[in-house]
Amino acid sequence: MLATHGLTKRFGHMLAVDHLDLSVHRGDVFGFLGPNGAGKTTTIRMMVGLIFPTEGYVQVLDHRLPGDRLEALKHVGGFVEVPAFYRNMTGRENLRMLGELSGDGSEARINEVLDVVGLRERADSKVGDYSHGMNQRLGIAQALLHKPEVVILDEPTNGLDPQGMKDVRELVRALGAAGTTVFLSSHLLNEVEQVCNRAVIINKGRVVVEGPVSELHPEHSAVKVLTRDQTRAREVLGAVVGAHNIALDEEYLVVDGVNGNVPDLVEELVRQGIKVEAIVPAREQGLEDYFLGLTQSADVDAARSPAA
């Protein structure tokens, strides 16, 4: 559907994207994760022919970029960074022009996409008067205008308030549910977790991890145990999961490597007469750390092989 093969971009001495191989299948809501500066936007720019790869190519359906950009772009909608419009024209006028470029600027379709993003009422105001959130919505509207098979969204929730973020995420989920393939770049792990089925994490222009979203993050195995009898609890738990899997986080014992054995763990604690105040999954805290850990270890790799 959408793939990159050995995609590489070098700016002078800086290697922004380094032999990137991605493969997005039809119907995927594909998360493209990475910290800021990881090469996400550079990759997207190459995917739509705004910049030219130093090496490698992009494939959209049967079309290869940069050579077959024109055919490829008929099937792709989206935006790169902050969507930009003609500020002295209204949202509707902008959509009309962009629709005409893609072959369909009909009022009916324009109204449809305006409804999808909830911007119909403000469609006849000048884009220059739009808020950031409205601008993002118009960005999504223009991405959908020509009913593309692939929609590429570059950090669509960037700079939005919580409600705006929620709306956009729901929209992306709905697109996926309707069968549109979505390529969603983000630097927020939990966003990708909420809306995507598959994802890849990149850093320094290279893939760090890829796969189904459920396999991206560490096993949901860590739990936090709150007890007043930490010393004994440590012994007991250590006997079950191994002492190296136990750490202290403020007043909680963080127990790793539980692998779904929480009931057994609780039973053992109770049998040993240890009073447990609370057991909570340590997952929320683990994710961002995990993400950071992954991208930092990629830094270490990169530092080890300066030739790359």
């Binding site: 772009l73 960074e81 969507p83 930009a84 419009f85 500020r87 002295n88 962009l98 470029l101």
Partner: protein
């Protein structure tokens, strides 16, 4: 065609389009007011000055005196702006990436912008002529124009010669515009491209004023911008005019092809 239509739509949605047109069309009007009110009428003179003295008594000559005056600065300035804003201006607003996200060829985008800029300049010149004739007719009346070489031609023939002169100036101005377009595919700032083009035009003008650089002169399009003045002699010496047109055509073609070569492989990063 579709691209051209959309470019034109964008053009007329910008305030500065009309500011440019209004500004340049004001020049012949100001000229007429000054000529009508000042007690000391210009007499005789060479080149552009000669046109002023003729314009002071015959409204037919206002349009001619106006382009003689405008080709020195204001027309090149307007052409530099018109040529540079379509690419670099859109790059500045980041709308270039929105435009190029659509299935349109880069060559088509560049050409539609170039043609739109040419149309913009043609309309500007048309407005100058219209303002000149209206103001000139009111102030001095339209009479059969006298020729620089003596004698005169009919009113209709006078219009025709003026029209040809305007076409010639338009062809010359397209060189400036193409230069600005080329620079705008290299620089990402439209101001840089505008000023760059203008500076180059001024430098070429300066070079043309020194006999030391006479070897260069045949290749400088700027030295040929006044060749239309030969139209107002009898018999008309066509050689400088055709040479001028050939020079303009080659210059514009080279610059525009250069712009295309740059733009088709340009990394659009903004």
């Amino acid at each position: 065609m579709k691209l051209l239509k959309l470019e034109f739509k964008k053009l007329i949605n910008q305030k500065r389009t009309f500011v440019g047109w209004a500004g340049i069309a004001a020049v012949p009007i100001i000229m007429v007011v000054a000529l009508a009110l000042q007690s000391h009428k210009p007499q005789g003179g060479q080149g552009p000055d000669r046109f002023f003295s003729l314009a002071a008594v015959n409204g037919m000559y206002v349009a001619i005196a106006a382009i003689a005056m405008l080709t020195t600065f204001l027309l090149p300035l307007l052409a530099s702006m018109a040529g540079s804003s379509p690419i670099a201006g859109e790059a500045e607003q980041a709308t270039l990436k929105t435009w190029l996200f659509r299935p349109v060829t880069r060559g088509g985008v560049l050409m539609s912008k170039w043609v739109t800029a040419v149309i913009y300049m043609a309309i500007a010149l048309g407005l100058v002529a219209a303002a000149a004739y209206i103001a000139g007719a009111i102030a001095f009346g339209l009479h059969a124009p006298a020729l620089l070489s003596g004698g005169s031609v009919s009113l209709a023939h006078g219009f025709w010669l003026t029209f040809l002169a305007y076409l010639f100036v338009l062809a010359g101005v397209i060189c400036v515009l193409s230069l600005a377009t080329l620079l705008s595919t290299i620089a990402n700032s439209s101001l840089t491209a505008t000023i760059g083009a203008l500076v180059i035009v001024i430098v070429l003008n300066v070079l043309g004023n020194f006999s030391f650089f006479d070897v260069l002169k045949p290749y400088l399009f700027t030295s040929r911008l006044d060749a239309w003045q030969n139209l107002f002699s009898s018999p008309i010496d066509w050689t400088p005019i055709t040479h001028g047109l050939i020079s303009f055509a080659i210059t514009s073609a080279v610059l525009t092809v250069g712009a295309w070569l740059t733009f088709r492989r340009k990394d659009v990063l903004v």
